[in-house]
């Protein structure tokens, strides 16, 4: 190769370097909330209040009753659990669509072990919870270690688990759990069944972990950018695996508690719980922490949707309208939240 051009030696002339202590504007305190921010965070909650007010006006004698309150907040015990189970993988950028399947399997397991095989109740409960944990860990192994797509894996797992619970139950509803076991979830505390309070405790604990602890921050970074998290020394795969295992365990717990609630389990009833759980979880991303999967927002979303359904039912509107409400409110809420956020980043 010809190197015919001789580059003139350039000796650099001294230049002004940036002064080490040039005055800079003081770093502003982080996270100051503007009015717009507040609106974005609380829009769905306001909508919730407005909706409740509308129902109260439309049907004051029915809606404004203790009983209505009980129905709205007491009827979704397992849904809150399922939402939290879905949420954990979402937070680390994964998907788990098998939570309802896990719930079905553990619900059947605890009932069959106790009712048909004569196990002691604690042994049956512990075994069922282990089944849930193992199912979650299996998801984690396939997705994290083997590197298979999580959507395909968990959808397949959901179907397989549904089949397993049909097999374990002999393809029909299983019953036989003692009423005393039901008290674990049905006993009233401050007018609400314990199932509701368990959901509250779980949500608050999850929210604490996610928003307050380093673990939660790490999860958020793994969800936002896995490689950045890895380079920062976070054990990314351990967190992903852990999220799946947690998901399975919580879904398993939901199954056990649901079985306790009704004294048995219908293995085919679990599948239809997945979509409401997903709907609430996605709707939750429009609440409190817009754009982020978050437990408190999800909890609000569960009861936002529940309020709508119950309110419509009280007005005598059942059937198709509840589907329209469910799907419509999800799309509208998430759309509004997305648009608000887009305006925010375009400052």
């Amino acid at each position: 190769m010809s190197t015919s051009v001789s580059a003139a030696d350039r000796s650099g002339t001294p230049d002004q370097l940036p002064t080490p202590d040039r005055p800079t504007p003081a770093a502003r305190p982080a996270r100051r909330l503007s009015g717009g921010d507040l609106l974005r965070r609380w829009a769905v909650v306001l909508l919730w209040v407005a909706m409740a007010a509308a129902f109260a006006i439309a049907s004051p004698d029915l809606f404004l009753r203790q009983g209505t309150f009980n129905i709205i907040f007491g009827a979704n015990g397992q849904l809150v659990f399922l939402c939290m189970a879905v949420l954990a993988p979402f937070c680390v950028g994964e998907f788990d669509f098998s939570v309802a399947g896990v719930m079905g399997l553990t619900g059947v397991t605890v009932t069959v072990l106790y009712g048909e095989h004569g196990w002691s109740l604690p042994a049956a409960v512990v075994t069922a919870l282990l089944v849930g944990m193992v199912a979650g860990a299996l998801n984690g192994f396939i997705v994290v270690v083997l590197g298979v797509d999580p959507i395909i894996t968990t959808l397949g797992m959901a179907t397989a688990l549904q089949g397993a619970s049909l097999w374990a139950s002999g393809m029909s509803t299983v019953t036989g759990l003692p009423v005393s076991f039901g008290n674990v979830v049905t006993t009233k505390f401050l007018g609400m069944p314990l199932f509701f309070w368990y959901g509250v405790v779980l949500t608050l604990a999850f929210a604490y972990v996610l928003h307050v602890t380093p673990l939660g921050r790490h999860m958020a970074f793994v969800g936002a950018n896995r490689e950045v998290a890895r380079l920062a020394g976070i054990r990314v795969n351990r967190l992903r695996f852990g999220a799946f295992t947690f998901s399975g365990t919580i879904a398993g717990l939901a199954g056990v508690l649901l079985a306790a609630n009704i004294g048995g389990f219908d293995p085919t009833s679990s599948g239809i719980q997945l979509l409401p759980a997903l709907a609430a979880t996605f709707l939750g991303t429009a609440i409190l922490f817009p754009g982020r999967f978050n437990p408190l927002g999800t909890w609000i979303a569960v009861f936002f949707l529940s309020t709508g359904i119950v309110g419509l039912q009280l007005l005598g509107l059942t059937g198709w309208i509840s589907d329209v409400f469910f799907g419509g409110s999800l799309v509208v809420a998430v759309t509004v939240s997305t648009l608000l956020r887009r305006r925010k980043t375009r400052f």
Partner: protein
Amino acid sequence: MPSAPAHRTSGHSPAPVATGTEPTLSLRSVSKRFGPALVLDDVSLELHPGEIHGLVGQNGSGKSTLIKLLSGLHRADAGTVVSRGGEHPLPLSVAQLDALGVAFVHQDLGLVESQTVLDNVRVGRYQRGRFSRAVRRGPEADAVRASLARLRSDIDPLALVASLPPADRALVAIARALQNAGADDDGAGSGVLVFDESTQSLPREVLTGFYATVRELAAAGTAILLVSHQLDEVIALTDRVTVLKDGRVAGAGIPTAQTSRREITRLMLGADADTQALHDAVPTSPGEDGLVLRGVTSPTLHGLDLTVRAGEVVGITGTTGAGHDELPYVLAGVSPGRGAVRVGGTEVQLAGADPRALLDAGVALVPQARAHQGLALVMTAQDNLSLPRLRDRSGRWRVTNGWQRDEFAWVVEHLGVTPPRGDLPVAAFSGGNQQKLLLGKWLVAGPRALVLHEPTQAVDVGARRDILRSVRAAAAAGAAVLVSSIDNEDLATVCDRVLVLEGGVVVGELTGPLTADQVLDAVFRTELTTEGQPA
């Protein structure tokens, strides 16, 4: 080193640049702005009939933007195209491009593998039956066969592209483009054919044939614009070269015979930028060994030994494939490798190590891929900054805030991040400020070993100075700093020593003070000495 022909193939005599003839196509004063960034600034380019014209420049220099403006993908802010006696404002419509005979062969060739050669070549231009509206496949196949024959190829028009070897695929893509480039039936072209990094997707062994095809096309009168970052290819193939740097023409239509690879590199990387060494402004005092590598081996590194003393800035550089660009990731445990890394008193075996182990030893890595590996763009600046130290500084149960604010304030003060707002997502900051955040994320902890890869890529001049200065400052504070870069300016500016890698081992060492040209010379000197040896 790529095995592209390093010397002109005999038999190809460069077409004399017909200064007297009318250019086939001229781009005049093209400018383009993306938001605040001026990516093309008054760029002009002339393509003559029968000429192979190279267009080179670094990533971000604006060459791909220029092609996208010409092909109508982007809308130019200013500029016109002069061709065939007419002046047309940009952007050109597809019909105008057709009329002017401008055609493109893109990087990935743009072929649909599951379809036949015929369909790939003729899609959008089928002759249809007058009433049936069905494609007349017989005449179509004949036409495609004929145009492939002009490229000296006998590919079956009805074969599936997926079944073709790579060389034939390139020919199919060229055949398709030639329909637009106004090649007449006798093969004499009157149009313009743009190869946009087309050789990227071709295996080395078919390049010779590809080059021959390109030369024949030029000999038939087609004007050819070859966009490439393979300088060997540009040197070997083109008649003239236009160099872009930072959106401006750094060298316009330089006759290839009168320049060299080294000179083109100098133009691309810029000799006019601020080359002032920081040695005097931020003196360092190298002490004992800070970062010691022993037998580091990876796909491109072969038993590399290297020592950086505490308080010393060492640069590593080399040509493509030399291994300098992989070293930062291997020694930080991010990419797989073997060998030992000793930082201070801690030695880590790389085999099976993860980033955590190296972090604990005191290695901080500032990767090149800022958005992919460096920062989570949707998270806030402060959260990104404090991420690596969350658990150590906060404890397990609660993230405390005070130290995070202090860290952010430190970065704002020492690197000049604007706006100084930790609550904004990283995506809201400019590229230069993002790079400062990325650097600050590691500097704030005072690492024992700081490893950087292309630390100033795609940042503006002001941010570049702040960043390089901070790198020196980190060394002055006692860190062993290793900078991997192909930017000879950067290396000359910050390094106490520069190591040149070739084939995965150190083949040259320069000791400061340095100039950018000395670094450049060293890189190409080693290239010349190793040329022809088996890899």
